[in-house]
């Protein structure tokens, strides 16, 4: 099997396993996995920029929130159905990421982190300021009856699970395919050595711009997905902690690996879920786990597996 065939087999195999899990998992874990898949979509988007392009954004919550608010407000205030509202969410996230990219990509390194952080903070404060429409920090609920596609209620656990899986699978396959194309390979080139990539004649700025827009739009798709699947839209999701989460998930799972984001989200989710049952200081346990991973598995879980045993992992 060549590399591409292995990669296709891995990704389709993962999706097949997730389909089976949807039917066999107990209700509680099925619900958790639906959430994990939506958040993993967010992490997949983040990984495009951080893992493959090497640009560390500290403001991705703004893209997640743009999708969430675009979709949620279109349904809540505009009375739209799920599909058109979801598309509006995507457009909002794509537009915001294009604007932010044009301005933030004038900087590099630490400055890029700070600029994205500042933009995200302004989006967060705007959501609070426009409380009349956004519900501010309290947020708003999307009516249960409206959360359905062609008569299929997204509030029904199995339907919700497969909707979440579809969202994740599309994001995963798009990014996996992208990394096999020359566009994706140039992104890795930018990450490894931006000057050399430029010297080889590639338009680095255009590639980075594309990466931010793709990354931001996938994050927005996750935000819109969260809104329709779980029925809540609120400014918390635009706050700085939701910009840090995808960074942690991707670092944990393995930056620059296609399935790392899913593994990272699932690991973190269950770590907190179980640890919080043991002690209120569960963030201490989460922190200790992060420190240990950083010390002993610097490439993240999947990254470490790739380094040690399975070098072809995409």
């Amino acid at each position: 099997m060549n590399l591409d065939a292995r990669s296709v087999a891995l990704h389709l195999g993962l999706i097949a396993v997730l389909i089976v899990l949807g039917f066999v998992l107990p209700t509680y874990h099925q619900g958790n996995l639906a959430r994990i898949l939506v958040l993993a979509t967010y992490a997949v988007g983040y990984n495009v920029l951080f893992g493959y392009t090497g640009l560390l954004s500290l403001g991705h919550a703004m893209f997640f929130a743009a999708g969430m608010y675009g979709c949620g407000m279109a349904m809540h205030l505009g009375g739209l159905t799920v599909i058109p509202a979801f598309v509006i969410g995507l457009i909002c996230a794509a537009a915001l990421s294009a604007v932010v990219a044009l301005l933030a990509l004038r900087t590099i390194g630490v400055a890029f982190m700070i600029v994205t952080l500042m933009f995200a903070q302004s989006v967060y404060l705007t959501a609070l300021y426009l409380g009349e429409w956004t519900g501010g920090d309290e947020g708003f609920v999307i009516a249960q009856a409206t959360r359905q596609i062609a008569g299929y209620a997204l509030t029904e656990p199995l339907t919700r699970y497969f909707a979440a899986l579809t969202l994740f699978a599309v994001a995963l396959l798009i990014t996996a395919r992208m990394m096999q194309m020359s566009f994706g390979r140039v992104l890795i080139g930018v990450r490894e050595n931006e000057e050399r990539t430029r010297m080889l004649g590639y338009d680095v700025f255009r590639h980075k711009l594309g990466a931010v827009i793709i990354s931001g739009t996938i994050a927005g798709a996750a935000g819109a997905g969260y809104a329709v699947l779980f029925g809540y839209v609120g400014a918390t999701f635009a706050s700085v902690q939701y910009s840090i989460f995808p960074l942690l998930w991707v670092l944990l799972g393995g930056m620059g690996t296609t399935i790392g984001p899913l593994i990272g989200v699932a690991f973190m989710f269950y770590l907190i879920d179980y640890a919080s049952g043991v002690t209120n200081a569960y963030m201490l346990i989460a922190g200790a786990a992060l420190v240990l991973l950083t010390l002993f598995a610097r490439a993240g879980i999947v990254g470490e597996i790739r380094n040690r045993w399975v070098p072809w992992l995409p």
Binding site: T27, L125, Y232, G234, N280
Partner: protein, 426 residues
């Protein structure tokens, strides 16, 4: 409110069957009349970490005290009650996950206890989908506004709209009619801005200036010059870590000659009034959901409730006088748990299949007289809006203590219904 335990022939026979086992256990002996001796599980969504942690700690203590009282009196429908606490991190996403966990993992009968509005609003869809009754103790207007669903109820604490509205008559008659409001520029502050402005205008007063402070602000000095000179009453409400700075800077700004000052105790919940810098609050007025300091006319119920929770007459922990309680809010946990008990008894609740009957039983409730179950005061529950209404207190700071100067009527707190949840299907 409560109903005597019914002993039918069937329960008697079942009881007799289980009798041998139960008789062997002195602890379980008092639950002997139950159809099932399995505990009723109440999922307690607790703010153990995050911005709500001070509230969560006291909500936890109040919950434990109410649980003890209920179990000592024979539990609910003859079954012991168990509280399963899960930390929601004061985060709406985790809140929703916790509600699902109660329903699908722990097998809880109901979920209960949330305070912060964004966590309530974030969790309510999950409660509606899981069809698990969700009793919140939040004082947000979200339930009564119709934004949530039939499974979400707030029977143990009044909402901000009724609280704010009930303050206007006293403020306009005793403190002044020209008010300037200073509030945080997010939903909680906007509720105060909108509801109080309308209420004071209905009393013939007016709000001269609305001063909204951005939530990230750490210094407030630059906002105070915006307070108009002719202001008679300064209405303030602040929350979060910068509250002490706010109050201190306000004191420094006005010095000895300030207008009358009226605030919501939310600004200083769990904060010792004797903290340095707060001397300036002497003579100012506060809304209190429940008077923190034991008053001269303290009821026997408040006395017993205070003792049960472990709060001294200054509103602090009996074991640590510097650990000040969230006395204005936490009674809601006590009262809500007793309402869950009364509702389950009225509905003859046996298990999750009876959840709809439980909601209908609570919706049917109306008057809740002041009692050991309702130590804060008498209440009136509106089954249509799923919201309770009750008396509010205004206190004045005298010699560093909050002394009650006014008790509103329940009528002062009423407003027209904005929703009828009973028309929604389950």
């Amino acid at each position: 409110m409560t109903k005597a335990l019914k002993t039918t022939r069937r329960t008697l026979l079942k009881g007799a069957g289980a009798g041998g086992l139960l008789a062997a256990s002195p602890l379980l002996g008092r639950f002997a009349s139950a159809q099932s001796a399995a505990p009723i599980k109440i999922g307690f969504q607790q703010h153990s970490t995050g911005i709500g942690a001070a509230y969560g700690r006291w909500y936890g203590r109040t919950t434990e005290a109410a649980l003890k009282m209920i179990n000592d009196a024979g539990g609910i429908n003859g079954r012991p009650v168990e509280i399963i606490a899960e930390d929601d991190g004061t985060d709406p996403k985790r809140g929703a996950e916790v509600v699902e966990k109660f329903s699908n993992q722990h097998g809880c009968d109901v979920a209960y206890g949330t305070l912060f509005s964004h966590v309530v609003i974030g969790s309510a869809p999950a409660a509606g989908e899981q069809k698990i009754p969700y009793f919140v103790v939040s004082e947000g207007h979200h339930v009564a506004s119709g934004a949530l669903n039939r499974y979400t109820l707030q029977p143990g604490i009044t909402d901000v709209k009724s609280q704010v509205q009930a303050m206007a008559p006293y403020v306009s008659e005793n403190l002044g009619k020209k008010v300037t409001m200073i509030f945080p520029d997010f939903a909680f502050g906007h509720d105060h801005r909108d509801f109080f402005t309308a209420a004071i205008e209905a009393q013939g007063g007016e709000v001269l200036e609305h001063i909204a402070v951005p939530p990230s602000e750490t210094s407030f000095t630059k906002y105070f010059p915006k307070i108009p000179r002719e202001t008679e009453v300064l209405y303030h409400v602040m929350v979060g870590p910068a509250v002490l700075t706010f109050v201190k800077e306000l004191g420094e700004f006005f010095g000895p000659s300030s207008p009358a000052i009226f605030g919501f105790i939310d600004s200083l919940e769990a904060v010792d009034l004797a903290s340095p810098g707060l001397e300036f609050l002497e003579g100012t007025y506060f809304w209190e959901g429940n008077p923190r300091y034991a008053q001269a006319d303290q009821t026997e119920y408040d006395k017993a409730y205070r003792a049960a929770v472990g709060v001294d007459e200054n509103g602090a922990s009996v074991s640590d006088p510097s650990d000040v309680s969230t006395y204005a809010h936490m009674f809601g946990c006590w009262e809500t748990l007793h309402i869950i008990k009364a509702g389950m008894e009225a509905a003859d609740y046996q298990g999750p299949d009876d959840r709809q009957k439980l909601i209908e039983a609570v919706e049917a409730m109306t008057d809740m007289p002041e009692s050991m179950e309702h130590p804060q005061g008498p209440k009136l529950f509106n089954g249509k809006t799923h919201q309770v209404f009750g008396v509010q207190y205004i206190s004045r700071v005298e010699n560093g203590r909050l002394v009650k100067v006014h008790t509103t009527s329940i009528d002062d707190t009423l407003y027209p219904d904005e929703v009828d949840y009973t028309t929604q299907s389950f």
